[in-house]
Amino acid sequence: MKNLAANTDEELLTLFSEDGSKGLELIFKKYYEQMCKTAIRITKERSLAEDIVQEVFFELFKKRETVNIKSLPGYLKRSVYNRSLNRIKSTKDIFDSNELNTEIGDNSINSQEQMEFKELSDYLNEVIDKLPEKCRLVFVLNRFEELSYKEVAAKMEISVKTVENQMSKALRILREEMLVYKKLLEKERME
């Protein structure tokens, strides 16, 4: 029986402090998938996301005798955010770029035939991937990781106002794409 309300994280941390490898296995198996999904949302790349998450678990293992964790998922998520963002920062100059990705409208739909078989949510998820990188990251951290504007601003080292603007921009683009998608779908049906 799995009782979600049981305070197992505390117990896992106690076990981890007593026997690192046993505790790590349980923690890894409990949180690996969740952390990978978080990392994928930020990096967009599955293998990179898995590497990052494994690094986070290895760091945790290395620090097992000194680390003081109050919230296990909180600690892991923070580590995954930081590593994922650092990895992106090191490969892309996204944090200074304000330019709008003008390719969204052009590339997002190849043909009406394809659209027929696409669900709106799948389509919008693809649009998210094509948002300008800073805009996408702000949107992902706020919408899916449920960080407040202030927390997003701190993580990305930008102002709260910029977060507000980028969130509006992301939703405006997504809405425009949704309306285009619906219009084309309607047209398809009429024909």
């Binding site: 799995k2 490898s21 296995e25 290895f58 998210i128 919408r143 509006s168 939703l171 949704m178």
Partner: protein, 335 residues
């Protein structure tokens, strides 16, 4: 105020970042601008539609762990289950004892996350906490379990059984078109690409389901019923009788979280919710209450006065306090 600023307010509203003054400002705009509700609706649709972003990825956790221990040369631990008896806490011991007992009693119901047995892969979820918790379902759906609720979930057949208390199921249209089945004695619910709340009281036999979004198929014996958004079906497993009525999905009252949420709610119903939230009596003395609607999603009022002021910012009205628990409203008009 420009359109972009309203988009910013709508965006903030969607993720609960609005201040009270911004909420008033947004409601004012909604009440005077005829096209604004459609804009808000579009943004909400976008917000909801992207909820599955990157959530469908699945991972072979055991394989990942094996490659992880090799890659980083982590000492391999002894199996957790055998060790748990010696070193781990009482709770895990109880869980293992429960699993063992169920294996013996159920004769084959194997509670393993990925295990395939005759009974499929069933997991029991229970929320004994004082706040709601979320459970991920197959295909990207989410079950939000209210405090003191529980159910069994079969991953393989996507079936919920033995539900007690209240849970809300938000289901996306999954690629396999496999619906979620929620089964009770005499009542079967099939749901896909929808949101529904299901409540069951074992003692009284009362079961109810309200559809917040989309459509839901229900079978009572040989009777097939399709419920649509805003409908609530009540059924009693003892009497086998059922009735369908209008549900009120446009209001959310969560006293524990301090949330009072209105979504295009008729103003009369909004006042009824405020009555319930603050345990006061509100009388509207107008002979006919205008068909105005009020929106304040995920609103966290700090006081009854603030809450009334917020509505007063959207509509013209006279508010008379007749005592700490009695309020009289009159002259409701559009601003």
């Amino acid at each position: 105020m420009g359109r972009d600023n309203y988009i910013s307010l709508i965006t903030k509203q969607l993720n609960n970042q609005l201040s009270t003054s911004e909420l008033s400002e947004l409601n004012n705009w909604l009440s005077v601008n005829s096209g604004s509700k459609a804009v808000v609706s579009d943004f909400k649709e976008v917000w909801d539609s992207v909820s599955t972003y990157k959530s469908s990825a699945s991972f072979d956790v055991d394989a990942a762990y094996n490659s992880f221990v090799k890659k980083y040369d982590i000492p391999i631990s002894t199996p957790v289950s055998s060790n748990a008896q010696g070193g781990i806490s009482n709770t895990l011991r109880y869980i293992l004892a429960a699993i063992t007992a169920l294996l013996l009693i159920g004769g084959g119901v194997y509670l393993a996350k990925n295990g395939d047995t005759l009974a499929g892969s069933i997991e029991h979820f229970a929320n004994n906490d004082s706040t709601s918790i979320s459970v991920s379902l197959v295909g990207g759906g989410i079950a939000t379990m209210a405090p003191q609720s529980e159910f069994n979930y079969n991953y393989k057949s996507s079936q919920v059984s033995d539900l007690k208390g209240e849970s809300t199921f938000s289901l996306v249209k999954n690629a396999q078109k496999k619906p979620l089945n929620i089964d009770f004695d005499g009542l079967a619910i099939k749901a896909n690409d929808t949101e529904l709340a299901v409540n069951s009281d074992e003692t009284s036999g009362d079961i109810s389901t309200s559809v917040n979004k989309g459509r839901v198929d229900v079978e009572i014996g040989k009777t097939a019923i399709q419920l649509t958004k805003g409908q609530k079906l009540s059924y009693n497993s003892h009497t086998k009788k059922h009735k369908i009525e209008k549900s009120r999905p446009q209001i959310l009252i969560d006293k524990a979280e301090g949330i009072l949420s209105f979504d295009n709610t008729p103003i009369e119903e909004a006042f009824q919710a405020i009555e319930q939230f603050y345990d006061v009596n509100i009388d509207i003395v107008d002979s006919k209450v205008p068909a105005y609607h009020f929106t304040a999603i995920n609103y966290r009022p700090e006081s009854l006065d603030e809450c009334l002021e917020l509505i007063q910012n959207s509509f013209s009205m006279t508010i008379l306090r007749k005592g700490p628990k009695s309020i009289v409203i009159s002259n409701i008009k559009s601003k």
